[in-house]
Every structure is written in structure tokens, then in C-alpha cells.
Symmetry: C2
Subunit: 174 residues, 2 copies
């Protein structure tokens, strides 16, 4: 791997910081940034060297990125090492990440809300108020889930179309 250009550094560092703000490990995000910018798949050792992190750290981080389905290992003729490459379709990439996060965080929250509503004892003081609040929150999460299910099935182009329809509706309403 060649040395990073100033530009690449800027992108990778920013992406790393960005990651931390959204609960994504800095190194994981940086590796993703590096692979995203790289025209060719890179072996773990090169990644470690380029980003100045331990080889083992790269291993763990790559595994995480693979779990999300946005990085995969490819093989290069005459090289026993795994080479890693990032998906390049940005929309698809974010869709995958969102899908994972929904599964890991949104779904459990929906379950928690359902459980709370089921457990709610109507005889308890303030039960009505609590139910109201819980139901409002649950409704929101159901809607988000519905929205997500649709995005999942729609091709990228249709999403953009919807986006434009939104613009029209806004103009009419305004």
C-alpha cells in the first residue's frame, strides 16, 4: 500500500470521528474509509501498517465490517493472504448498515415496548398516562419498522423518486 495522500488522510480521519459519534468503533470506520477509497483489495497487514494499528485490531474490525456485509475478502492469484475490499455502492452500503442497526437496536426496543404494554397493570396509579406514552412511542417504532421494510424492497431509484414526490407534495401544500 502506498503512503496515504493528504486527501485520503483527511477523509479517513473524518470518517473515523464520524463513526465514534454514531457508536461505531473508530478503527472499524477508518478501515472502512480506507477500503472504500482503495481501488484494489488490501491485505490486513497493509491496512494495519497504513493506519498504524495492530494487526489483530484489523482482524477484529474487518470481521465487524464483514458482519455488516459491506466488506468482503477476495483472493489474489499468487498470494495466500486474504485481501479485503469494500462495497462501492454507497446507497446499498448504508442500507445494509441501517438494516443491521435496526435488527440490533430498533427491534429489541419494539419488543421492550410491547412487553411493557403487556405488563402494565391498569390498577396501578397513573397507568392510563403511562399507557398513552408507551403506545405513542411504540407507534413510532412500528412506523419506522414499516418504513424500513419498504426501503428494503424498493430499488434505489424508487427511493429517489419518492424523494421527488415529497418535494411536489410540499409545494402543493405550501
Amino acid at each position: 500500500m502506498a503512503e496515504l495522500t493528504g486527501l485520503q488522510k483527511q477523509y479517513i480521519l473524518h470518517w473515523g470521528e464520524m463513526g465514534t459519534k454514531w457508536g461505531i468503533n473508530r478503527t472499524v470506520a477508518q478501515i472502512h474509509a480506507l477500503l472504500y477509497l482503495s481501488p484494489k483489495a488490501l491485505p490486513a497487514e497493509d491496512i494495519a501498517e497504513t493506519l498504524s494499528v495492530a494487526r489483530s485490531n484489523v482482524s477484529t474490525s474487518i470481521r465487524e465490517l464483514e458482519t455488516w456485509g459491506i466488506v468482503r475478502a477476495v483472493h489474489v492469484l499468487g498470494d495466500r493472504r486474504e485481501h479485503y475490499e469494500s462495497m462501492k455502492d454507497v446507497w446499498e452500503m448504508f442500507r445494509l448498515v441501517i438494516e443491521q442497526r435496526k435488527r440490533r437496536e430498533i427491534d429489541p426496543t419494539r419488543e421492550m415496548l410491547r412487553r411493557c404494554l403487556a405488563d402494565l397493570d391498569p390498577k396501578e396509579a397513573g397507568a392510563d398516562y403511562t399507557r398513552e406514552r408507551l403506545e405513542a412511542m411504540a407507534g413510532f417504532f412500528e412506523a419506522v419498522t414499516e418504513l424500513h421494510d419498504q426501503m428494503k424492497r424498493l430499488p434505489t431509484g424508487t427511493v429517489r423518486k419518492l424523494l421527488r414526490m415529497g418535494t411536489k407534495m410540499r409545494k402543493k401544500a405550501g
Copy 2:
């Protein structure tokens, strides 16, 4: 403040964990959960006591929630202390949070991408490839921004309407 019911505890704890996964401080999220479930505004001291955190911690966290615009101080007759209450409209609440996060994290990323594209030296090796990648990413962020701008202007009801239109389009296509 009365003791928390098991249900409230469950909700508050989950919300706190949820927060950490999205880069939001656990206490901040817990306080928000508490206020969301509370039928009346609560003074900082009660919040501290109920959640077993330091008074100072509540102060800082409340400030953060106020910055987002989802919690505000209200006054109670005969009490010098500030009482805090959460917004109850869930959709509006998330809209505000998303708006803030966009401002804090998405906008700076757009700027970074623009700067990178501006700084990109065409004579540099691999400049074409880098430009392609940066532009793809920048395009995505522009689209997200556009989408956000629209959501911001649309009333909640219209968002739901769009949601249903998505369903129809999907059914036609399928």
C-alpha cells in the same frame, strides 16, 4: 417523585442502553426517558434522586436535552426550582434529534467531502478513481440532506401519507 415502578425502570434502563449505542450519553437518555414517562415536570433534585446520579450530572444532561429542544424548564407556583418536562410528541421529538445530529455530524461531513473534492489534484496518481468515490459519497449526503429538508417542512401526517404511497408503489412493482 414517587419510587419508580418496575415498568418505568425497565423502560428507563433500556432507553439508556439504547442511547449509548447511538452515541448518546446513558444518563442523558435515562433522564429523557424519565421525563417522557412523567405526567408532571420534575425538579433536578428529584431526577438525581430517582435515577441515583449526582445532581451535577443531571444539570449537564438537562442542558444537553434542552439544546436538542426536547426538554424545557417550566416553573411551578410557590417553588423556586426549575422543573423540567419532556416534549410528548414522539415524531416531533425524533425530528428535532435528527435535525441536531444532521447539523452536528452530517453537515460537517458534507463540507469535508466538498473540501476533498476541491483539493483533489487531477495530476495525482489515481485521482480519477478517488474523485469517483468521493462524488458518490457526496451525492449520497446531498440526497440525505434534501430528504431531511423535506421532512422538516412536512407535517407529520404527510410523512405517514408518503409512507403509505411507498407501500402502493411497492405493490404495483411487485
